[in-house]
């Protein structure tokens, strides 16, 4: 049996007294398109940072493709691609220069890096302005470039922190096409997103983190069934299982505090 693509055991991260991630256990099997969801401040980005080596865990263990992240950091990083929260771009390079640089940092030779850069720029429709500095790119262009840099070496696992945030429909379509191609090739994708419609359409498995704790995980069907069972048959407030969207499931599991009754009279 293959080792899990991602294996998280008792992962905890504290910031002083505050526990951002609390004893999380999770396994992602190879080839899964995995959505990691949670409300703001739930611990999603902290978790993804710990999985990609950007943040140290207070305790617990992370294994990527069977390798311990702390002990084999460089070997793990060679096999993964990451688009972190800030996109990690070098603003004073042009798009082709940045992709060339990224390719060579991941160990590609000069010619391969150049060839793949050109292909990726064309695929992402970023090849129209080769002299433009990354800092002058629009937000959507930067997202596409960051994704291109993360996949240039053909990673086995891709970690994406909010890849669709602030991206228009056209750029979003390009990103989705690329991610689906990667899944078809057998890669594993682990993403966080607030755009639940996209997660529902792309992801086969989902985990929900709330206040640092993992509160649900499984396939979408498993989550639907779980919510339906918990709510009980005959409860009118719950839609039938086939109609439950990921947003319904998310709100059921995480809950939401309503502010309808609070009045901000000065807003007019």
């Amino acid at each position: 049996m293959d080792a899990p693509a991602i294996s998280i055991e008792n992962l905890t991260r504290r910031f002083g007294e505050f526990v951002a991630v609390d004893n999380v256990n999770l396994q992602v099997t190879p080839g899964q398109f995995f959505g990691f969801l949670g409300p703001n401040g739930a611990g999603k980005s902290t978790t993804i940072k710990m999985l990609t080596g950007l943040l140290a865990a207070t305790s617990g263990r992370v294994r990527i493709l069977g390798l311990d992240l702390d002990a084999h950091a460089i070997e793990v990083k060679r096999q993964i691609g990451v688009v972190p929260e800030g996109m990690a771009l070098f603003g004073r390079l042009t798009g082709p220069e940045y992709l060339n640089f990224a390719g060579r940092m991941y160990g590609l030779d000069r010619d391969t890096a150049a060839k793949r850069s050109a292909e990726l720029l064309e695929f992402m429709q970023l090849d129209r302005e080769p002299k433009k500095l990354v800092t002058d790119y629009s937000h959507g262009m930067q997202k596409k470039l960051a994704l291109a840099a993360a996949v240039i070496h053909g990673p086995k696992i891709l970690f994406l922190d909010e890849p669709f945030e602030g991206v228009d429909a056209i750029a979003s379509g390009t990103l989705k096409t690329m991610l689906q191609r990667m899944i078809a090739r057998g890669a594993t994708i682990f993403l966080t997103s607030h755009v639940l419609e996209i997660v529902e359409r792309l992801c086969s498995h989902v985990a929900i983190i709330h206040q640092g704790k993992l509160v649900a995980h499984g396939s979408l069907e498993e989550l639907r069934s779980g919510v339906q069972a918990k709510a009980g048959i005959g409860d009118d407030s719950v839609a039938p299982p086939e109609r439950l969207t990921l947003e319904d499931i998310f709100l059921r599991i995480v809950g939401g505090s309503r502010t309808d009754n609070q009045e901000l009279s000065w807003l007019g």
């Binding site: 990609t52 080596g53 950007l54 943040l55 140290a56 460089i74 070997e75 990083k77 060679r78 993964i80 990451v82 972190p84 800030g86 996109m87 990690a88 771009l89 070098f90 603003g91 004073r92 390079l93 082709p96 220069e97 060339n100 640089f101 990224a102 060579r104 940092m105 991941y106 160990g107 590609l108 030779d109 000069r110 010619d111 890096a113 150049a114 060839k115 850069s117 050109a118 090849d127 129209r128 302005e129 080769p130 002299k131 433009k132 500095l133 800092t135 002058d136 840099a149 000065w266 807003l267 007019g268």
Partner: protein, 557 residues
């Protein structure tokens, strides 16, 4: 929201309220920075340096006060300009020569608020003037004013008025220079024009020597030359301020008022130029190098491979290439790197050319070591904060399969190459302006640099990890180095200069300057060993410090 109308919106605050709000925010940011250990260390560093500068300011003020008193009480008011010119030159050149101590408040972030232009302008002037040069300049002018007031109490209101206008003119001039230089350096074309102008200036400077020599041969006496310079300086700000005070002392009030008026006119011109720049910024000017949509030429380019440096691994080469691209695209950084040559030209023109054994700048044997030392000093700006310009890109360095030691080694190699190139240029400038420096002096200077540079790289690599500060290569003088970094850098330079002085004196005592090279050899071996040890430890340190590094460098704004 339907019921919302223009009438329900609050009116735009007045300038005073807006300035008060900005001051409050700055104070809150400062207070919040003290929550962290690093913030407290920063404050201690700046207090320490502030005390040092305060002593320099008070010492200078005392000296200038004595000078003003002596000049006026001994009946030589025409010499007053001698006191004002050094203040003027220092106040303008120090922020350009030592950008780590200067910070123009980057007010672009405030533009999203309904900020009045007057507030925007005032913020730029007030916060832009909170720097070391202004502090020293104000103290020195105050000292001069006190000295003059003691010598001529009846004229003290006029002296104070003139000196206040003089100080204001300098502040406006410095702010104008900063804002326009930033504008010129922001785009490739203007950078190229600036480059051409710079080289023309160098050529022009080189012509001054032969012209003066030619005039000397034709019995053009130096005193005449000096008297011409004196005549010209009377029409420049420092000369006008001195002239106004001198005329008042001599009872020629028409001349005094006219000189003050001319000085104020200079202020008016600088104000107008600054206003043009700030108005463009206020209107949301973009200084990026993006080509406008109309001018875009859609042209597919052949895939271009990155650099190939024989014998060096691909990762190291890619990192070096990236570093060179960053440096070459930074107008302000290029400006900083040409300053040693400018500095040499300034020295060159402070004395008679080709005179051997004169004061500083009067011969190549002094100019070359000074130029080389100044080059190393300028490079400390980037060596001690080498990750600063990477900004959010630092995240990439932590998610990519690369060791931080490789990253820092690549940066060090590029910075060392820049240092080598600069030293060659300084040597060439010294050779052209004076004569080729003595080989023993060249050997000692190179040895001292081989000793000092690795020492700076050791300290710089550690401070780049422990006290990193986000640095925008495209902004000129809008950012100040970390206080800890400045203090540590000053300490390292004192050690380097101290050791070099001891070695040089020892060699002189032994009868030959070449002994210095022999004494330096083991010291160089020691610092290279130390460099290897530090480089071997940086991965561990970076891993431990990655959270705070990313937090500092990847923060927005």
């Amino acid at each position: 929201m339907a019921g919302m109308s223009q009438a329900s919106l609050p009116p735009v605050s007045g300038m005073r309220e807006q300035l008060a709000a900005i001051a409050t925010v700055r104070l809150q940011i400062f207070r919040n920075s003290l929550r962290t250990m690093r913030g407290r260390a920063e404050m201690v560093s700046w207090i320490f340096m502030g005390l040092w500068f305060l002593m320099a300011g008070l010492g200078g003020a005392f000296g200038l006060g004595i000078g003003a008193w002596a000049i006026l009480s001994h009946g030589h008011p025409e010499w007053f300009a001698v006191l004002l010119w050094p203040i003027f030159v220092f106040w303008i050149f120090f922020p350009l020569l030592a950008t780590a101590f200067s910070e123009t408040f980057d007010s672009a972030n405030l533009l999203r608020f309904p900020l009045r232009y007057s507030s925007f302008f005032a913020v730029n002037i007030i916060y832009g003037s909170l720097d070391v040069a202004t502090m020293l300049g104000v103290l020195w002018l105050t000292g001069t004013a006190v000295g003059a007031a003691i010598a001529a109490p009846a004229l003290s209101p006029w002296t104070c008025l003139v000196l206040a206008v003089f100080g204001s003119v300098i502040i406006l001039l410095v702010r104008t220079l900063f804002s326009w230089i930033e504008r010129w350096l922001a785009q490739r074309r203007t950078r190229e024009i600036m480059g051409v102008l710079f080289f023309l200036t160098i050529v022009a400077f080189q012509l001054i020597g032969p012209v003066v020599r030619h005039l000397n041969r034709n019995h053009f006496q130096l005193p005449d030359y000096l008297s011409q310079a004196v005549a010209i300086q009377r029409f420049l700000p420092a000369g006008l301020a001195a002239s106004s005070i001198t005329s008042a002392i001599q009872g020629e009030w028409a001349g005094a008022v006219a000189a003050l008026f001319a000085l104020a006119c200079y202020g008016g011109v600088f104000l107008l130029l600054l206003h043009r720049r700030l108005l463009a910024q206020y209107a949301g000017e973009n200084l990026g190098e993006a080509v406008s949509r109309e001018r875009q030429v859609v042209k597919k380019e052949e895939a271009r491979s990155g650099w190939f440096l024989p014998g060096l691994p691909g990762q190291l080469t890619a990192l070096m290439e990236k570093e060179v691209r960053y440096l070459s695209r930074s107008g302000p950084m290029l400006f900083t790197l040409v300053m040693p040559i400018v500095f040499m030209l300034i020295l060159h023109n402070t004395g008679r050319p080709n005179r051997v054994g004169g004061g500083i700048g009067q011969n190549a044997n002094l100019a070359f070591p000074i130029g080389a030392g100044y080059t190393l000093l300028l490079l400390t700006n980037i060596i001690y904060n080498s990750l600063g310009a990477d900004g959010v890109g630092v995240q990439f360095l932590f998610v990519a399969p690369v060791r931080i030691r490789t990253v820092l080694l690549a940066k060090n190699l590029i910075h060392a190459s820049v240092l080598g190139l600069e030293m060659l240029l300084v040597w060439a400038a010294a050779a052209i302006a004076y004569q080729p420096p003595n080989p023993a002096i060249v050997a000692i200077t190179v040895s001292a640099i081989l000793f000092g540079a690795p020492l700076d790289f050791c300290a710089g690599n550690l401070l780049s990890l422990y006290a990193a500060k986000k640095y925008d290569f495209s902004a000129f003088g809008r950012q100040r180095a970390s206080g800890i970094t400045v203090l540590a850098s000053l300490g390292a330079q004192i050690v380097i200069i101290g050791v070099t002085a001891i070695v040089w004196l020892t060699a002189r005592a032994m009868g030959s300057l070449w002994f210095a090279v022999a004494i330096f050899a083991p010291l160089i071996a020691v610092v290279f060993f130390a460099y290897r040890v530090v480089l071997g430890r940086v991965d561990e340190i970076a891993l431990r410090r990655r959270e705070s590094l990313i937090a500092v460098l990847a923060k927005s704004g």
